[in-house]
Subunit: 358 residues, 2 copies
DNA sequence: CTGAAAGCGCTTACAG
DNA sequence: CTGAAAGCGCTTACAG
């Protein structure tokens, strides 16, 4: 390798990067007339280096186009500034919103992001291993169900695990999530308040953590109002499947007058199903979604929904990341970010049945 | 560090990973009674090791929970099996579809994916630098506009650059993209064929590479049919902004009877605008989108659109990646993947004005 | 097939 | 403030 160094001279006025040959700390040290240690210190925040040295090194580094190898740094250093995110397939527009916000926030603080698909193994443990293999500072798990065993393995290995959107009662494993239970409650209270009496929940049949929590909050609040919730479960979150399930529900023997869907995507499919069977929304049927994705605001949907506090969840994750890195032994923390209701046109005005009351 | 090794004994029947202490190749070598080189060979495909050695090493490695450090491997080896993807903000559902497919395809071949936001700098050069810093096998650029200078820098440094959705005429820089021009042509031909005569293009005003190409194909085919295309540009791709622009266009002095939008998202906003101003789609106005995102198929949209061949583009990228790694000096290649037309309900039946002809 | 040695590019105590 | 030395965890020629 070294043999061909400089065989191919630069012909342009660009940094002197010979083909295939990386500029190393030694090159900079040699040309600047200092030791590699000195160069290293100049590139390390808070390390001691005289102004003269700093200037010499910086100049040479710039001229040579030197950049410290993150691989070498990671190998020897204690922190890599790298975080691994375990995600599932991004089948819902919401997933992109979340990833976008997280990626942006991490980039803003100079943290690199590596992706690992939860993919085949439900536990997403291949993602954890990948995080370990690259010595990630932490792994953020936003998909699948993590087993306590795997979580424990990571924590022992010194890899902080932060769960997004799910909770695991394992020592050292932090969680950040939207207050799904609260959001479900808000949905139920809105529907009840606006006169709905036959409430239904359209969800994944408990297939995901969020789905279970949202139903719990919804059913709980409904129950307090003396209403029992009918649930419809759909195996696949695909639009067509949900549309069909909703159509069956609406055309069935006990159609609801108030529906809460696990996600906006499902709620939108329900709106279309309502139209298909000739139900008027919100006159015959009120619908509430969850997430507040852009499509919820579209003119043809105007979906009332529970707003997922993405920014809050993301900053919660960064917060917990910092805290955990600062103190690896701190107690686990679960942070639930409050949701808000965004009332649009798929629910009725307040108190329609109280019209005329004082 | 080493001092605390084994201070905290394992209490469970899990691999022996002492707190904070990584199992290294030396540990495995020592316990297996072989040299580190031997262990390395066992973990290297196609390296020579006797069956006895292999078995011993593998057993010990499993018991100890040993995994080769990718950092160390990357530092010393010639390939890292790591690819960096430069993406912009994921404001369109399409972005998630693409990333999802790419991530899945890379994972399937055992390649790790690192994310770099194009973010602030339009050139996305920070992403390139990040790719360099981690010794990525290649960088896939799917956002922003890359300057020839930066591309050249990467190629010189031995970092293959693969452009997705854009083309750059620089040596060694490969590209894969949907045939935008062809797609635009298909849209125009469909509209003309179904009787539209006043064609309009709703796009980003040439802000992106795709936008320019789609308009080019559309306007070219329209021109061959003797029709001049009116273009409407929108600065922000936000739904509300597009809705307003489309409303203005439709309510303006020269409303079109056939509209081609740069993306499905924009086309859907246009559908809603048409409804808002009382235009009937497709009777008064035909609309064609681009991408074929899930929402295009929704009952309330039923959007006729040009299908973006995501799978084809992704496999093209992997293909070019392999080729480039196998032969770094090969000529640059631009691969355009054919698009297809998905005809739904926002365009008319064929030849409505020829009704009665033989 | 196998091990000793050198090296990847960097940082971290350690003396000065 | 500075440099020599050791080491991070691995692989790659090089002899055997």
């Amino acid at each position: 390798m070294r043999v061909i160094k400089n065989v191919c001279k630069n012909d342009a006025a660009l940094p002197i990067i010979s083909a295939m040959t990386r500029v190393t700390i030694k090159d900079v040290a040699r040309i600047a007339g200092v030791s590699p240690s000195a160069v290293s210190r100049v590139f390390t925040d808070g390390a001691s280096a005289s102004e003269a040295t700093r200037e010499k090194v910086l100049t040479v580094a710039r001229d040579l186009g030197y950049r410290p190898s993150l691989l070498a740094r990671g190998l020897v250093g204690t922190r890599t500034n790298l975080v691994t995110l375990v995600m599932g397939r991004m089948h819902d527009p919401f997933d992109a919103l979340f990833l976008d916000e997280l990626a942006e926030a991490l980039a803003a603080r100079g943290t690199r992001l590596m992706l690992a698909s939860a993919g085949r193994d439900a536990a997403g443990d291949s993602g954890l291993l990948q995080a370990l293999d690259y010595k990630s500072d932490a792994v953020i798990v936003a998909a699948g169900t993590m087993s306590p065993e795997h979580a424990d393995l990571c924590v022992r290995a010194g890899l902080p695990v932060i769960l997004s959107g799910r909770v695991l009662d394992a020592p050292g494993v932090d969680s950040v999530l939207a207050d799904n239970v609260g959001g479900g409650r808000q949905a139920a209270e809105l529907l009840v308040r606006t006169g709905c009496r036959r409430l239904a929940y359209l969800g994944r049949g408990g297939a995901t953590f969020s789905d279970r929590e949202r139903l719990k909050g919804f059913a709980g609040a409904a129950s307090r109002a003396g209403i029992e919730v009918a649930t419809t479960a759909v195996a696949d979150r695909d639009h067509g499947t949900v549309f069909q399930a909703a159509t069956d529900l609406f055309a069935g023997p006990a159609p609801p007058d108030g529906l809460f869907a696990s996600t906006d995507s499902m709620a939108i499919a329900a709106i279309e199903a309502a139209r298909a069977v000739g139900l008027s929304v919100p006159d015959d049927l009120s619908i509430v979604g969850f997430n507040n994705v852009p499509a919820a605001a579209w003119r043809s949907n105007q979906l009332t929904t529970v707003d997922y506090p993405i920014a809050g969840v993301v900053s919660g994750i960064l917060d917990l990341l910092d805290s955990r890195l600062a103190d690896p032994d701190r107690a686990r923390e679960v942070r639930r970010i409050p949701t808000g209701l965004v009332v649009r046109a798929t629910t009725r005005e307040k108190h329609p049945h109280r019209r005329g009351c004082p």
